[in-house]
Symmetry: C2
Subunit: 512 residues, 2 copies
C-alpha cells in the first residue's frame, strides 16, 4: 500500500478517526486514500484556521485528538492562531502538513517555505516522514506523544504519500498520566490546615465534575477558597456542581479577587498572570506575601491528588453544590445581561457552550451556572477566532449534544467560513452573534493603556460600523438559517426555535 493509505489506517488504529481538512495539491493522495478507509471521517473546511480550531474543540470534548490536513507552510500559517489556542489549552491535536515531494523540495518551488520552523512554535512533536516505510511508525509515535495533551505535527512529503512500500503500524503505548506523590499532598494538607487564607487555584483536569467536587470538599472542610483559572479549556457546570468563580480578566479585579491570600495552591494549572502588561500595574495578581504551592501540574493526575487531599483534610465534609435554578426570561431591550439571561433561561440539558463572547459575556457564566448540566469551552490562548471553529469540532465529537456558540462579532469574522462547514455537516450548533458593532474590548483597552488620545482616527480602527456587518445575510450566504433579534423576547423566541430544530442556526443578537 502507499504511504497515505498506511498513514490513515494507522491513525484510525490509534483512535484518530476524524480529519478536519483543507487540502491542496500535495495532499491529493491523502484525500484519495480517504475513500479506502471509511472509518476516517473527513470534514472539509474552507480555511485552515477553521480546521485547527475545530480540532481544538473536538479534542476538548472527545478527549482524544483529531487530525488536521493542511497544505504546506501557508496552510499551517493559516491554522497557526488556533493551534496557539490549542497549545495553551493543552488539547491533543495532530497536524498532517503536506509538503513537496522529496525530489522537489530542493528546487525552491513557489510554495516552498520553512514549515518546520513554524510548526516548532506550537508543537511538542515535529517530524518529517522520510520514506513510505517510515510514515506509519511516525504517525503512531505522533499520536502516542500527544496522548496527554500537546500538538504533534507530521510533515508529509507528497511522494512519501504516493509511493508504495508502506505498512500499517500498531498504536504505540502512551505515557501514563503522572501521579502526584503522597508527600506533595501531605505538604499541601499542612498548608490548608494552617489557618491562613488559602486559595485553591483550579484548572485543567480539576474542571471535571469529580475534580470540582473534590476541591469543593476541601473548601467545605477547611475554609479554603476556590478560584478557577480565567479561561479553562473545558468546565463541567450546572446544578449539582460547585458554583465556582473564575479569576477575572481585568488586572484590577484579578488582584482584588486574590487580595489577602497567603497561600495559593495550584491544582491542574499554573500561577496566574495578567493577559497583558499595563503601565504601572504588576504583571500578575498574586500578592507579594503570598506563597505559591503546587498540588498538581497540568498533565498530572490532579483529580486523584485533590481527592487524596480531601481525604486528608476534610474526610467528612460535604461539598457545597448549586441547587437547580434558572433566571427568568427577561423582556425588553437586548444587552449583554438580558442576552445572558435568555441563554440561562433556555439552556438545554447536556449542552456544550462555546464562549467567545468577550466583552459581551458579562453575566453569561453567572446566569448559566445553576442551570442544567453542561460543558463550557473558553478561549484559552487569547487568539480570537476560535469560537466558531471550536463549536464545529465539539459538534462532530458529540453529535447527540446541542452546541451553543456565544460569539463576539469582531472575532467571528476571523473564521466566518466555519458556518459553511456547519451547514455541510448539518452540525447541531446554534450561534448567537453578540452584535455590538465594534471591537468593544479594544475601545476599553485604548482607555486602559492610558493612550494619550482617542480621537476620530483611532476610534475608526476599533469600530465595525461603516458599514455594519449583516450576519444574517452572511450566514445565509453560507447555508446557515439565520434570524435577527433586537429584543429579549425576540432572542428567546428565536433561540427556542433554533434549539427545537436540528442542524445549524445563527441568531444575530443586536446589543446596543
Amino acid at each position: 500500500m502507499n504511504g497515505a493509505q498506511a498513514l490513515i489506517r494507522t491513525l484510525v488504529g490509534a483512535g484518530v478517526d476524524v480529519c478536519f481538512a483543507n487540502p491542496g495539491t500535495s495532499e491529493m493522495h491523502f484525500v484519495a486514500a480517504l475513500d479506502d478507509v471509511p472509518q476516517m471521517r473527513g470534514v472539509l473546511t474552507l480555511f485552515e484556521g477553521v480546521a485547527t480550531g475545530a480540532a481544538d474543540g473536538y479534542a476538548r470534548m472527545a478527549g482524544r485528538p483529531a487530525a488536521t490536513l493542511l497544505h504546506l507552510g501557508p496552510g499551517l500559517g493559516n491554522g497557526l492562531a488556533n493551534l496557539h489556542n490549542a497549545r495553551r489549552g493543552k488539547a491533543p491535536l495532530l497536524n498532517v502538513v503536506g509538503d513537496h515531494a522529496r525530489s522537489h523540495k530542493r528546487l525552491d518551488a513557489p510554495l516552498e517555505s520553512d514549515i518546520d520552523a513554524v510548526a516548532g512554535t506550537v508543537s511538542t512533536w515535529v517530524r518529517r516522514s522520510l520514506s513510505p516505510a517510515d510514515v506509519a511508525a511516525d504517525a503512531a509515535e505522533a499520536v502516542a506523544a500527544i496522548a496527554t495533551g500537546g500538538i504533534a505535527t507530521l510533515i508529509l512529503p507528497a511522494d512519501v504519500c504516493w509511493e508504495d512500500g508502506a505498512e500499517v503500524a500498531d498504536a504505540q503505548p502512551v505515557r501514563p498520566v503522572p501521579h502526584v506523590a503522597p508527600s506533595v499532598v501531605d505538604d499541601v494538607a499542612a498548608v490548608v490546615r494552617g489557618g491562613e487564607d488559602v486559595v485553591l487555584f483550579l484548572g485543567g483536569d480539576l474542571m471535571t465534575a469529580q475534580g470540582q467536587l473534590a476541591a469543593a470538599q476541601v473548601a467545605a472542610g477547611t475554609g479554603a477558597r476556590l478560584v478557577v483559572e480565567t479561561f479553562p479549556a473545558r468546565t463541567a457546570r450546572g446544578a449539582g456542581l460547585p458554583d465556582l468563580h473564575r479569576l477575572p480578566y481585568p488586572p484590577e479585579m484579578a488582584m482584588a479577587a486574590l487580595a489577602g491570600t497567603r497561600h495559593l495552591v495550584l491544582a491542574g494549572t499554573t500561577a496566574p498572570v495578567h493577559f497583558f502588561g499595563y503601565p504601572g500595574v504588576p504583571g500578575h495578581p498574586v500578592p507579594e506575601d503570598c506563597t505559591v504551592h503546587v498540588l498538581s501540574r497540568p498533565g498530572e493526575d490532579g483529580v486523584a491528588a485533590m481527592r487524596a487531599l480531601a481525604e486528608a483534610v476534610a474526610p467528612d465534609a460535604k461539598p457545597d453544590v448549586a441547587e437547580f435554578e434558572r433566571p427568568e426570561l427577561p423582556t425588553g431591550p437586548l444587552d449583554p445581561r438580558t442576552m445572558a439571561a435568555v441563554v440561562g433561561a433556555l439552556l438545554p440539558e447536556d449542552a456544550i457552550v462555546v464562549d467567545e463572547a468577550l466583552t459581551s459575556g458579562v453575566g453569561l457564566t453567572e446566569l448559566t451556572s445553576t442551570g442544567p448540566r453542561h460543558d463550557w469551552l473558553s478561549l484559552t490562548g487569547g487568539a480570537i477566532g476560535d469560537g466558531l471553529p471550536m463549536a464545529l469540532g465539539a459538534a462532530v465529537a458529540c453529535p447527540d449534544r446541542p452546541v451553543i456558540g456565544i460569539q463576539a462579532d469582531g472575532s467571528a469574522m476571523y473564521t466566518i467560513s466555519a458556518l459553511w462547514s456547519y451547514a455541510r455537516e448539518q452540525a447541531d450548533i446554534t450561534t448567537i452573534i453578540c452584535d455590538n458593532g465594534s471591537y468593544a474590548i479594544l475601545e476599553h483597552e485604548l482607555q486602559k493603556v492610558g493612550a494619550a488620545s482617542d480621537g476620530e482616527r483611532a476610534r475608526k480602527l476599533l469600530d465595525l460600523g461603516g458599514p455594519g456587518l449583516d450576519f444574517v445575510s452572511i450566514a445565509q450566504g453560507m447555508g446557515v438559517p439565520a434570524t435577527r433579534a433586537t429584543t429579549a423576547e425576540e432572542l428567546a423566541d428565536q433561540l427556542r426555535a433554533a434549539l427545537a430544530e436540528p442542524g445549524p442556526h445563527l441568531i444575530d443578537a443586536v446589543l446596543r
Copy 2:
C-alpha cells in the same frame, strides 16, 4: 514623545504612510498615535491575512512599502500566507508586530509565543525594538532594508510604544539597485547571436513597459523567443506592448513551451520549476541540453541590462507590439472563456487586474492582452487568498484607477472579510467571483497525481456544494453591492454598471 509617536512619524518621513491594521491590546498606543499623525492612513481590516495581502498589492502598485499592524504571534500567523506571497513576489513590506511589554514577556502570558521564529520564515529583516530610544532608528533601518524588495518585521513591545524618551529618526539611505556588469551583457549577447534556439525568460522588472519593449527589441532583431515567468508580480499589458506569453502552469505544457531551447537567458527572475512534483515528471521544464544564462537577477537593474543587450545585438530592430483589439461581447452561456471575453471587451483604460481566477482563468490573459493598457497582478506564491486583499491594497495605492478582481470562489473564502474593508474604504474595486462551486484545481490535481481512487468521499473534500456559497448574500452582508450573472449578457450588463459607478461591487459569475 512616546515610542509609538516617534515610530509613526519616522515611518511617514521614510515614505511609509499607509498602515493596514488589525490591532489588539498591545497595539493600542500605536492606534492612539495615529491621531497625532494625520499623514499616516490607517486602513482597518477584520483579519490579518487581509492586512498582509493588501500591503502586498499596495507595494506592487505603489512601488514602496505599506506597513501592517499585527497583534502578537497569532496575528502574524494569520498574516503569514499572504506574507509568503509577498516574499515570493519580492514586494517591499513592513510588518509592525505588537508584543507584550518587556516586563511581561518573561511571564509566559496566554498570548506569548515565538514571534521571532515565525517572522524569520518570511522576513529578510527582523528586529525587536528594545527601548523607546531605539524604535525610530529601528524603523528607519527597516524601511531602508526593504527598499528594493523584501519583508521587514519590527517586533514592538507595548511598553516601548507607551514610554516616553523617543525621538523621530531620519530616513536612512537605501542600497542602490545593483547594475549588471557590461561583461555579463557581452556574454549574453554572444549567446543570443550564436544562432541556436534562445529563450529570454522574463520576470520582475522586465515586466515593466520599458523592460518588455527592450526584450521585444532583442527578440525582433535576433529571433530569440520571449517567455514570461508563470506568475509575475506585476505586468504592464495592452496595446502598444509586446503580446507576451507566460510559461504555462501544467508541467507538460511548460515542458512543451521550452522544448528545443538550447539557451535559457534569465532576466529579472530565476530558472523555472514546476509548482509541484508529480510521479514520473521532472521537477522543472528546462530541457536537459539547455544551458541557463543569467542576464539579471531579481533586484538587479534588469531593464538597463536588457536595453544594453538590445543596443548590442539589435540596435535598429523595432519591437513587435500588439495593435489595439478587443474581443467582441459574447452572448449565451457563461463559462471561463465567455467570462474572459466579457472582461476583455469591457476592460477600462488604465485598469488594475488582480488575477486569482486559477482554473477559471482560461482565456483571461489572451482575451485582454491587446486591449487598453492595464497592470496585471498575479498570485506569486501559490498561497490562495491573496486576490481579494491585493485588490484592496492596489485600490488604496492607486485611487484613481479602476481595480478589477477576478477571483476563484474557493480561494475567495480564505480572506472574504476583505469585502468589508472595500466598503469601509469605498474602494473602487469590481470583484468577479468565478463561481464554479468547487476546488476545481484540486479535482484536476486528484486525477493528475494518479491517485488510486476518486470516489464519493474524496470528491466531497473538493466540492464546494452542499450547501452552495451565495456570494451575493455574503457580499451584501459586508456592505458591498452585489449581483449574480448566469449568462454572458448579464455579466456584461452588470460589469458595465459596476465600472460606471465608483466604489466596490461584486458580481457572482456562475460558471457551470
